[in-house]
Symmetry: C2
Subunit: 257 residues, 2 copies
């Protein structure tokens, strides 16, 4: 099936499709083909099963796209340069920790992020279990495809096609005259979260048993706050200062240098 | 991937998904799964490859739907009781003989047909070649998915998912207060076309070499005219009368009876 061509809805360099640990080579191939169908070019695969990944690369109508796909060990690395990370998710099992947006309403925030000069990522989890809680802590938003209660779970390749169709068909809104503020990328937020984490430890903020939970909450909090890039830079400077000061308290000789 | 459930956009009995000669069992399964995802229940398979069809029926998350699928030898039979038949098509090879509608604009005419009391069918051709010219002569409209020029051709299972997503997410428009007129179903139009065909032959309307082409054109014409059901009934009565009269001219003894 095909149709008259359309113009690119997004600058191809601004939009990343990310597949986390896909299991089925056919789904990897189908995802790449849907990308080609709707004019998306940048694919990153996170921690794929090596055998399936090799198989997928030689078997579809979008070979070039798969040959050029990026590889990352962790989702946080894959989306480090993105200002908006959208996870696709099942809401049946887990209470969401992020704002949830139905797919038909997704184009607006994506276009807005790109118009502010940021890159965006749309992240798909593995076939059976979806994105983990750790993966989701990299996401600013969760997108859900409105499906039927009796069979809510979609095939991965079909879910990718439906999402990209929706994004490709929606024209970007006219640029607002008010100046849009650049958002920090995901890597900057992780850097900030890491320093805050050290400060929490050094300040004996909470018992060790709470450490993991606090780390997770800080990652989510930083994504919810909608910091601008200068906000994030200032906060990083501030917490680094605090971190150094606290380290000096434990080791006075270092604090003088 | 899944999401909060939604209400059924169409009365399940009013909407038929038709796959013509699908080759790949995985695509048959994927089509059925997408139907279940978006709340569609009625599937007809036309002239499937027997082996592939058997394989598909035992291998997906929508077994019930496949077990209950209808079977037809020809597309005309599969859609005989439908008032609106929409073919999905590639526009790269062939100049379309029907009105073409982009997928995002398809929900409106479908809802209108159902509100007039008719059944509708969405028809998908085989993976490689798409619907034949003969198949397309059963269709009132062609629907196309807006895809990218560099890779316009979609995988069948993904095309089905994208189409059903678009239809499922669109609310039916409010019922118009003006009375909507019931449309003749596809079988009635074929009956009328058949009688007109006989009249053309009996009247020596055109050389034998033009017969096939004229048949085809009449089928298309009848779908383009937007006849109401009473229009079609009256036309059938009229052409039957003409047919009988012409037969009498060749065989005067029969015309008296």
């Amino acid at each position: 099936m095909s149709a008259p061509s359309q113009r690119d809805p997004f600058d191809p360099d601004s939009f990343e499709v990310v597949l986390v640990s896909p299991r089925n080579p056919l789904n990897i191939g189908a995802s790449a083909r849907a990308m080609a169908n709707f004019g998306f070019t940048r694919l990153t695969v996170v921690a794929p099963y090596e055998k399936h990944w090799r198989e997928a690369r030689s078997a579809v109508q979008a070979e070039g796209l798969l040959q050029n796909a990026k590889y990352a060990e962790r989702l946080a690395d894959a989306v480090a340069d993105c200002a908006l990370v959208v996870g696709t998710a099942t809401l049946t099992h887990r209470k969401p920790e992020q704002p949830v947006v139905a797919l038909p309403d997704l184009p607006k925030p994506l276009h807005r992020a790109i118009q502010s000069g940021g890159r965006v990522a749309l992240v798909f989890g593995p076939e059976k279990r979806g994105l983990t809680r750790e993966d989701l802590s990299c996401c600013h938003l969760l997108a859900v495809i409105p499906t039927h209660a009796a069979q809510p779970s979609m095939n991965l390749g079909q879910a990718v096609a439906v999402c990209l169709y929706e994004l490709a068909k929606t024209e970007p809104p006219p640029l607002k005259s008010t100046k849009t503020r650049k958002k920090p990328d995901s890597g900057s937020l992780d850097l900030l979260a890491g320093v805050i984490d050290k400060v929490m430890l050094a300040a004996d903020y909470s018992p060790a048993s709470m450490h993991q939970a606090n780390r997770h909450d800080v990652r989510l909090l930083l994504r919810r706050l909608e910091l601008t890039e200068p906000d994030a830079r200032r906060a990083l400077g501030f917490f680094r200062r605090v971190e150094r000061k606290l380290a000096g308290l434990h080791n006075p000789s270092r604090s003088k240098s």
